[in-house]
Symmetry: C2
Subunit: 297 residues, 2 copies
């Protein structure tokens, strides 16, 4: 532990906070229907890097947001993320058996339970967020943001474009649009939820946060594609090389590996630049941009 940086300690504390918060906000496995609740917990707890809650907390730090509100907002976002993974892994979607190094939910339980657990996690996310103990106007704004980011103007829309793209050549622009919805929308929502836990942002602040979100959202996907092409399944905790096998367009398939790496680095610098107006309170956001680009899984 002696050689941990302050940022690493911060990340560990967020992960611990999120594990505890999610565990408290999810129904216990002992409550009827037990199998559904067990599957919801299996899908959400004890796994994941918690990148989205980290964005909530890092953004909240800029706006002096209370930790309890950030933990609740982070839990809501993470429930949406967890539900999306459960449904993505289903046979009619990516048909994947491994996630975070464990059997996927429909393998561990069954398809119907996986479907329902994902559905119930989505409802729970909104139920949890609607119980924020902050000004009602900001809670409502958060619910609007999460609803849009999760639905067809965001994540579900990106998934649908992704589905339609299998076996087709996409332009770089189309690929960006798809990932902007599929991954970027929820990352951006996380950043704005963190902010709103503190106060409404000014127009300039909102503009800066949006630029930051765009940069890290794209960087996140470029790096995912690089890792899918270069890392092994054991390191990733999920099936590697799947995009190529599924003939899905990726940054690596369009740009090649070297140019993809250069793009990720450029986006990292863009993310830093977008935060120029903020002082050292933005240091966690800056370090998260570095982490997203420099991670190895």
């Amino acid at each position: 532990m002696a050689d941990m940086t302050a940022f690493e300690e911060w990340m560990q504390s967020i992960q611990a906070t999120m594990e505890e918060t999610l565990s408290n906000l999810l129904p216990p496995s002992s409550r009827v229907p037990e199998r559904l609740h067990d599957a919801m917990r299996y899908a959400t707890l004890d796994g994941g890097k918690r990148v989205r809650p980290m964005l909530v907390f890092a953004s909240g730090a800029l706006f002096n947001a209370p930790p309890s509100a950030l933990a609740r907002a982070g839990a809501a976002v993470e429930m949406i993320h967890a539900y999306s993974l459960v449904h993505d892994d289903l046979p009619c979607m990516d048909n994947d058996v491994l996630r975070r190094g464990k059997p996927t939910v429909h393998i561990q339980y069954d398809e119907a339970t996986a479907l329902l657990a994902g559905d119930a996690l989505q409802s729970q996310a909104f139920a949890v967020l609607s119980r924020q103990d902050i000004a009602p106007e900001r809670t409502i704004e958060m619910l609007q943001i999460l609803g849009d980011a999760a639905g067809s103007p965001g994540m579900c829309g990106g998934q649908a474009i992704d589905l339609a793209s299998v076996g087709h050549q996409l332009s770089l622009e189309q690929l960006e649009q798809m990932h902007g919805l599929k991954t970027g929308a929820l990352l951006e929502a996380s950043i704005f939820l963190g902010c709103l836990c503190g106060r409404f942002p000014s127009a300039d602040e909102a503009h800066a946060l949006k630029a930051y979100a765009n940069a890290i959202g794209l960087a996140f996907q470029v790096v995912d594609d690089i890792l899918d092409a270069t890392a092994d399944s054991e390191t990733l905790g999920k099936t590697a090389g799947k995009d190529a096998a599924d003939n899905k367009p990726t940054y690596v398939s369009i740009l090649g590996l070297d140019k993809s790496r250069a793009l990720a680095e450029k986006l990292r610098l863009d993310a830093h630049q977008s935060l120029d107006m903020f002082d050292e309170k933005a240091s966690c956001l800056r370090q998260l941009a570095d982490l997203i680009v420099q991670r190895d899984k």
Copy 2:
């Protein structure tokens, strides 16, 4: 049209209002991703009795709620209902090919699109409800109610209990619990959403509405079971006799047909009695109880 009662005219006007409201609140089929948006509209528009929005409006009438707020709340509830039907019909659940007289969504489109359309409809329901133009405190209460009613404390929980019950003998009490969650929770939510569009209910009013909701929720399911056992698929617009074929416990299988019919009638009278404290403003709620019990599809 000459022989329509005032109640029939009221129902038709709600159906027309809901069709228009839902059409406006759902993304157009021309918007990318077109196939997803088309499937969301297919699942929601031009079909269904709109019982839940009728409950929203009938309850709203008691509390002088503005029609625009009721239409929006009704649309949110109907989107949750529509999404649940899309997912229920999937091969891993009920594996049904016919709904409201039309091919189910996964037959008309494909399984992945049906999964995503259901997911996106759920998000959209919360996005729509979070944009209510009423006091923020009441909007937030509505979001809490809808989140709980849709999730594992409500509809999804009931579905999970239903899944676990296939091939098992349930007691009447267990059957009531299952349907109370699976169907009753969203019907009750509809009633409270209608109320909250006007104002917060008093404790006595909330108690009366809850008793009414319990009675019609159960009646709804008892009558569904009676119709499943006695009507043909053409009349129902969905596959009849499916519960018996799937060896699912029903009121008819536990009580028999005569006692099921007597129970439905008793619940209809209970529903009326629960509304005793209200004046003629509750007449639509009273007539909806009659309709739920006396319908033939």
